[in-house]
Subunit: 351 residues, 2 copies
DNA sequence: CTGAAAGCGCTTACAG
DNA sequence: CTGAAAGCGCTTACAG
């Protein structure tokens, strides 16, 4: 046994807030622009000129000396300093409520992809926590010097006020309606739902249920109802549950217990659909034979459920490109853009 | 038609990089610490003293004046300036490969939760894109002045070098093994897999398949093999596929075509399991009757699949707390911590 | 084409 | 207990 260790209080103390003596706590000084300038034999301003291509042209020879020094030193500009100086960073914030929702997962991936194409980095923030009664993440948005913010969530009035007061471009995505004072992007929820339900009607279904979130605000429920009305059909039962796995599961159970002759259902999100499928299977119902299903979103996940989901898909790539472009070009003025959806037919609808 | 608009080139030009004339391009100047100081009638240093509680005590009356001014002005400290001054921010980077993997979704949520408890913000970065042949996100990590970085991914040698050179604490999570020079956190993959397979053996299965990623490095495959050997059983077929939905689907198809009498399978991730279930159902196999399944990870999603997955679960909350704590306390020195897994029995194993 | 200098908004040793 | 001042690492008008 090593007595030196036994006697060293910094060892074996799980509460030590310092690294044990001997561990190099990495005081490796970062390479700065001055280091590059010194090595290249130029002023530090010239380093900026070369790296940013602005605001001045630089002689080819000088330029090369700087580039060589950058390479040799492995210099990486400090983005924090750059952001402070410029008044903005190249980080775009993305606010989603819950990363476990397959829709937000796909959205985050597309936003990331689009941002990267512009040399931007995405910072994903989960707003779910505010429902824990903790301080809203939204409130902290102003502290990071973000280049812009994309919010894929529904804001309360107070939150809208907070966000509106921010001095950076904001784009609201995944929105049902125009939002006063904001650039909003959404799909044609009504039209998509209508198309989904119409598909079921065309397949011969006469009693079609709805599974979705809170009643009264969601155009998808209206789309469902309108498609039925236009076909002279009565609306089937509507199940209003939270947009979470558990909500979908509960709705699926409700649907399985239905005794009114429902043969099909339109489910407003694939996160709900995933769990609703489980509940239906649990009750021994076959899909699409006993209950045909069309979902909404068009996530990657939907193709790998059983049965694979027929769904109306959002053009996420285009929407993400649009949102990012409007941040980057600072054109996030008030308006509302809706994108059309497309019907993707798989096994769950029995087509 | 409005001629004024027609003649205004700033309108209707989709490529305009400026907001249309008239749109307030938000030159609302941010409130700074100097504004607060002026209003409170103190020096700007005192504002910092009050807000940070350091390094000096402040007279109660002065303190109140500052607090009032902060409140009145709605002052929020500029975190960029703070980070530059302090040499570190309060943002923790989390690198995951693919947000669509339910495991990473759950992990991101737990890391976020833990970080918030320490007043930190999490910046989620997707590393998936590097496989597109694009520049690695990893390389840019040094530019953001992050307080620390948590990496839930397998690094190449070159990436390890890059990360090791960073001057901030780094914690590797979801790791199979110790990583030279890094603080690594992982579950007992071998033990978890062993437990999963043992569960199937105890249920009477004699021929048990494996579905997972590349062979040769994953302790879960060893755990599967060892549990079988210890029970004097031959290993069943092993399906090696990518950790994505499509991989799981292909493995499921392979398993469904198996003609060697397999009655059960251990699946190394729930993302793969989700899609494998679909393939098995597609071939008309009943679970657990024809094929019993135990998965690995313990995500939220697993409980809502059909049938609900028996699985060995990772103690994500504890692991996330640990990772964040080591960043915040700067104790991310080299070591390897493994956490035990727990068996969660649901319908898929037929217990 | 190149450089000295001010400024971005903070923190904190140092001196009163 | 309070304040003047230097410094974090950049960008960029301004002057040579």
């Amino acid at each position: 046994m090593n007595e030196a260790n036994v006697n060293d209080p910094s060892v074996n103390d799980p509460n030590a807030s310092e690294p044990p003596a001997g561990t190099p706590a990495a005081p490796k000084r970062r390479v700065t622009r001055d280091d590059v300038a010194r090595l290249a034999g130029v002023s530090s301003a010239v380093v900026s000129y070369v790296l940013n291509g602005t605001p001045k042209p630089v002689a080819a020879a000088t330029r090369q000396k700087v580039l060589d020094a950058v390479e040799l030193l492995g210099y990486q500009p400090n983005q924090t300093a750059r952001a402070l100086s410029l008044g903005r960073s190249s980080v775009i914030g993305l606010v989603i409520s819950d990363p476990r929702n397959p829709y937000f997962a796909d959205l985050a991936l597309e936003i990331d992809h689009a941002a990267r194409a512009h040399g931007r980095t995405v910072m994903v923030l989960n707003s779910l926590a505010r429902r824990d009664g903790r301080s809203m993440h939204i409130a902290g948005l102003g502290q990071q010097q973000l280049e812009g913010i994309i919010i894929a969530d529904t804001l309360s009035e107070a939150e809208s006020e907070t966000v509106r007061a921010l001095s950076v471009p904001v784009v609201l995505i995944n929105q049902f309606f125009a939002n006063k004072g904001f650039a909003s992007i959404g799909v044609d929820h009504f039209g998509g739902a209508y198309m989904a339900v119409r598909h079921l009607i065309d397949l011969g279904h006469r009693r079609i249920a709805f599974i979705g979130g809170d009643p009264g605000i969601d155009p998808r429920e209206d789309g469902w109802r309108s498609a039925l009305r236009d076909a002279d059909l009565e609306p089937g039962p509507a199940f209003h549950v939270p947009f979470e796995f558990e909500g979908g599961y509960q709705a699926g159970r409700g649907l399985a217990e239905d005794a009114t002759g429902v043969t099909a259902a339109f489910i407003a999100s694939e996160q709900q659909a995933l769990a609703a499928l489980s509940a239906l299977h649990e009750r021994g119902l076959a899909i699409p034979r006993d209950i045909a299903i069309v979902a909404f979103d068009g996530t990657t996940c939907a193709a790998y459920l059983w049965p694979p989901l027929s769904t109306v898909a959002q053009p996420l790539r285009a929407m993400a490109d649009d949102a990012v472009r409007r941040i980057v070009t600072n054109t996030a003025h008030e308006d509302y853009t809706t994108y059309p959806m497309s019907l993707v037919i798989r096994a769950s609808s029995g087509a």
